[in-house]
């Protein structure tokens, strides 16, 4: 536990003592803000139009759901932005240690590989939590001017967090494979994008295959979270995805010793 904390603290400090954390968090929140504005102003316009139509035809105005029409698209946007940003957060975790040789310190210290991997994984997870926390400020505005339901917001953020941890787990893995940060980031991005897009083809193939593919898709599992549905099958999927990424990282690090590179 002490070793885990030592690694974790060092990684978090290293994020925040370099520009990485500030740039990533700042731009993530900025981007989220722009899209929040677009989505919400679009939603407000739609509400006005519905009101006008109701007056014209002299009937009761249709009730607009802020959760369904504003928060859900926002959640989907955030899940996409995380895909762009998180590979940049995880790329240096092992690559940099390999490049500078600090991996030799780490692997000749009485720290197990599991402790090191979990420390790094949690540090990146913490950074992602801060990124998500920043976007929560926008949601507060919705509470000030409307009355969204809390439940779907909670499940949405839970889903986002789990989804982000999936990205991070495989980000750590690809970072163990190379001493080049760019290669680590690009492979993470492409790999995650593949698991993201795998559900898109489900509409074009036979229903059985389509459902199978869709159940592998990272984003199809996220849909229910954004809707406010908490289903254990999605949680189990994400947890196994994270576990797989961490397990592969572990195997990769262990085998580095045997390969000697």
């Amino acid at each position: 536990m002490r070793n885990f904390l030592a690694i974790y603290q060092r990684e978090v400090k290293s994020y925040f003592s370099s520009p990485i954390a500030y740039v990533v968090i700042g731009l993530f929140i900025l981007l989220a803000g722009i899209f929040f504005y677009l989505i919400v102003s679009n939603f407000v316009q739609m509400c006005l139009r519905v009101d006008m139509m109701a007056q014209q035809y002299r009937m009761a105005p249709q009730k607009m759901n802020v959760n369904l029409m504003a928060i859900r698209p926002i959640m989907h946007n955030l899940s996409l932005f995380a895909l762009f940003f998180l590979p940049l957060v995880t790329m240096r975790l092992y690559s940099d240690e390999k490049r500078t040789g600090t991996i030799e310190l780490l692997m000749t210290s009485p720290v197990t590989n599991l402790q090191a991997i979990l420390g790094k994984f949690s540090a990146a997870g913490t950074l992602f939590l801060v990124m998500l926390g920043g976007t929560f400020l926008y949601i507060i505005f919705l509470f000030l001017y409307g009355n969204p339901e809390v439940g779907p917001i909670f499940t949405g953020y839970l889903g986002l967090f789990l989804l982000g941890l999936c990205y991070i787990a495989f980000g750590v893995f690809f970072s163990t494979l190379t001493d080049n940060q760019i290669i680590a980031a690009v492979s993470t991005f492409v790999f995650i994008l593949f698991f993201w897009a795998i559900g898109w083809v489900s509409g074009f193939v036979s229903p059985g295959l389509g459902e199978t593919l869709s159940s592998f898709s990272l984003i199809d599992h996220f849909d229910d979270f954004a809707k406010g549905v908490l289903d254990t099958k999605h949680i189990v999927y994400y947890i196994s995805f994270i576990f797989m990424g961490l397990f592969l990282s572990f195997v990769s690090i262990e085998s580095t010793r045997w390969r000697g590179r």
């Binding site: 290293s14 500078t100 040789g101 030799e104 692997m107 009485p110 010793r257 000697g260």
Partner: protein
């Protein structure tokens, strides 16, 4: 303290180290000497548990480097060829981190870091960010990192590389002062370093140990021949013929000089100087110089590490 038994390590088909065995006693300083790519770093990485051996066993402080690697890791300080520094950290933070992962108790941590910084004289830069330090300071921070948990065994891979002459002397003195309390293995390809700091030398070439001995023992044993420079005024051919005739002389070679100067090589047990003097006097040659040369460690090293190529040609 360190016991290596028939350790080999292959990278693909290439043996980086091949069947090496040696022992290091507690408190000794042992030098690992060899040309580049001889397998020094690989041997050290096996001892530090960074790389597993393909075959053979190695124990450090009584613990097997593979089976009980965590116990070994607690007891070693390791300075790799490139000091393993987190460039963005401050010196003190970095050393505190290392102390933490090396298992120094929280109460002793500050003291351990201060002592390590004192030993390598970097207390004045303790608040500087590592990437802005000069190469010499970085090397010393690396050394402090290896010392911070006061390990029983220190493994230093080319500890004086990149330092200026004054710093080299300082680091060598530091290493010498650490002996006794610590068992030290250091690798180098700089010969004077070994004769100055180490009590014992392990010469390694192409993954094989070619010699293990004390520095003096090595020069004596591997001298193989006594060399004599003789400078006289006489026709070269006559000198060569006459001296070659002496019993025990193996080789007579002309070298440059104002007079007729020859190198004489003989078996090391035979003292030929009186005999050479007699020949010179008998022929009435004016004598300018007669000098025996000590075989330096450098010669031994060259002899041992170039032998194979010589045979192959």
């Amino acid at each position: 303290m360190i016991d290596v038994q028939q350790v080999s390590r292959y990278f693909g088909d290439v043996a980086a180290v091949n069947d090496i065995s040696f022992k290091v006693e507690k408190g000794e300083i042992v030098g690992f000497l060899g040309p580049n790519a001889a397998g020094k770093t690989t041997a050290m990485r096996i001892l530090t548990t960074y790389l597993p051996a393909t075959s053979g066993t190695a124990t450090v402080a009584g613990y097997d480097v593979h089976e009980q690697s965590m116990q070994v890791r607690k007891r070693i300080g390791y300075l790799p060829e490139n000091p393993p520094l987190y460039q963005d950290m401050r010196v003190r933070d970095y050393l505190e981190f290392v102390a933490k992962i090396k298992g120094v108790a929280p109460a002793d941590r500050k003291k351990a870091v201060d002592e390590a910084m004192d030993k390598v004289a970097i207390s004045n830069v303790s608040d500087r960010v590592i990437k802005y330090l000069s190469k010499g300071y970085k090397q010393r921070v690396g050394l402090a990192q290896a010392l911070v948990h006061n390990p029983e065994v220190l493994i230093l891979d080319e500890p004086t590389v990149g330092l200026d002459p004054n710093q080299i002397i300082e680091v060598r003195q530091l290493i010498k002062s650490l002996a006794g309390n610590h068992t030290i293995i250091l690798s180098t390809h700089i010969l004077p370093e070994v004769s100055m700091t180490c009590e014992r030398v392990v010469i390694i070439n192409k993954g094989v140990i070619v010699a293990t001995d004390t520095t003096e023992g090595l020069t004596k044993k591997h001298a193989g021949a006594t060399r004599l420079t003789v400078s006289v005024e006489a026709p070269l051919q006559a000198v060569v013929d006459k001296i070659s005739a002496i019993r025990g002389v193996n080789k007579v070679e002309k070298t440059s000089g104002n007079h007729t100067t020859v190198f004489v090589e003989s078996d090391k047990e035979v003292e030929i100087r009186p005999e050479v003097a007699r020949v010179v006097i008998a022929n009435d040659w004016p004598l300018y110089e007669i000098k025996a040369e000590d075989v330096s460690l450098e010669d031994v090293f060259l002899h041992l590490t170039t032998q194979e190529e010589g045979q192959a040609v």
